[in-house]
Assembly symmetry: C2
Homo-oligomer: 212 residues x 2
Amino acid sequence: MINDHEIKNLFPLFERKLLEEIESNAEIIEYEEGEDLIKSGQNIKSTMLIKKGLVKIYREDEDGNEIFMYHLEPGQACALSILCAVQHKTSEIKATAVKPTEVYAIPVHLVEQWMKEYKSWYQFILSTYRSRFEELLNTIDAIAFKNMDERLVMYLKKHSEISNNKTITVTHAQIAAELTTSREVVSRLLKKLAERGLIKVNRQNIEIINLD
Amino acid sequence: MINDHEIKNLFPLFERKLLEEIESNAEIIEYEEGEDLIKSGQNIKSTMLIKKGLVKIYREDEDGNEIFMYHLEPGQACALSILCAVQHKTSEIKATAVKPTEVYAIPVHLVEQWMKEYKSWYQFILSTYRSRFEELLNTIDAIAFKNMDERLVMYLKKHSEISNNKTITVTHAQIAAELTTSREVVSRLLKKLAERGLIKVNRQNIEIINLD
DNA sequence: CACTAACTGTGACATATATCACCATATTTT
DNA sequence: AAAATATGGTGATATATGTCACAGTTAGTG
């Protein structure tokens, strides 16, 4: 087992034995681009480790408004799925695959059990909590203290960085939904950025010239 | 040792041995009403368990704006202080005692060590992360999806509940700072609530009639 | 190729909140 | 008691964002 070493590269800090446990106990689930890993209000019974692809995490309210919180990349775990799974509670969270994605789904009881058995697992879970905590604080900063133009620039930077691409493929309406504003506002702010020569706005995508 | 049993009541789930460890290793620090346990940008070298009193946690930005996030009561721990301490990072967090407060300050290395040695400690730390996570999500909901009038009502309810008192002693300016708005806005919204008979506005305090 | 749906641009207007100016009271200090 | 300070009330106005209406443009489909 563990012949392809893929999992070893994803989680370099895990003990060999833990990697084997994952391989033999985790179910691998595949999601298409645009498919939801977690829907708002759904009961979660396992924790997801991202194997491949890219996932975006949103908070949703009752009226269907959503706000983008952060990305999950290969080698990361969904803190919310741990949180919800362990507490057996639903949470108003949405996780959407933005690329074709594969995850290791770990049953809750193993998440708990491994905490005691594997030091590297417990460190991984804690560091997951820590980093997601930081992301949430950044989200709060943005919506509490920043104007929409600043938040838009942050959005563009972040998405360019994470997809490793100067060109972001997204519609104005999508950006608006994720920043909880309206399409018109996004279009106008994008236009202003374009007028200042910082970006180039095309149909379905935005090219970043210089946002530093 | 552990003769007064105070600590046992605060942390009923901790093993006897862990309680003894806390008693012999934790420094007890007292704070006056209004004093800061953590100032923004400060380096944190220990984790705080609340022994007595009441603490409010704020997020601050560079310009001195602050937003209230949540309360800490006796028997709870500051998740941020764990997070920051372990990572040896500063964080733009403010923790202020709103009543005379006493805390157990636990050196970081013990926080880490006890995680391995005491099951109840590790469960406590995890549940601290979980509950603070939920609080942050609620904060995000409020500022992303709610108008100021709704947020004001939430603020009043929460503060009444946590102080177990229908009358909240606070100035309009204070509320404004914690909700990141202006005093005038708070005064006007309070007036509207008073006109609807839901609260009574006095100088320095607000009496809740019925906000359900 | 025509038709439809999705995406984008833009003016006009509505609304919530922020800011300013100033006054009125209440409380504390001298 | 007088003065200084903290707190609260209110109108006028500014600004950012939200909403509506509608038109133009592109991509995909039959």
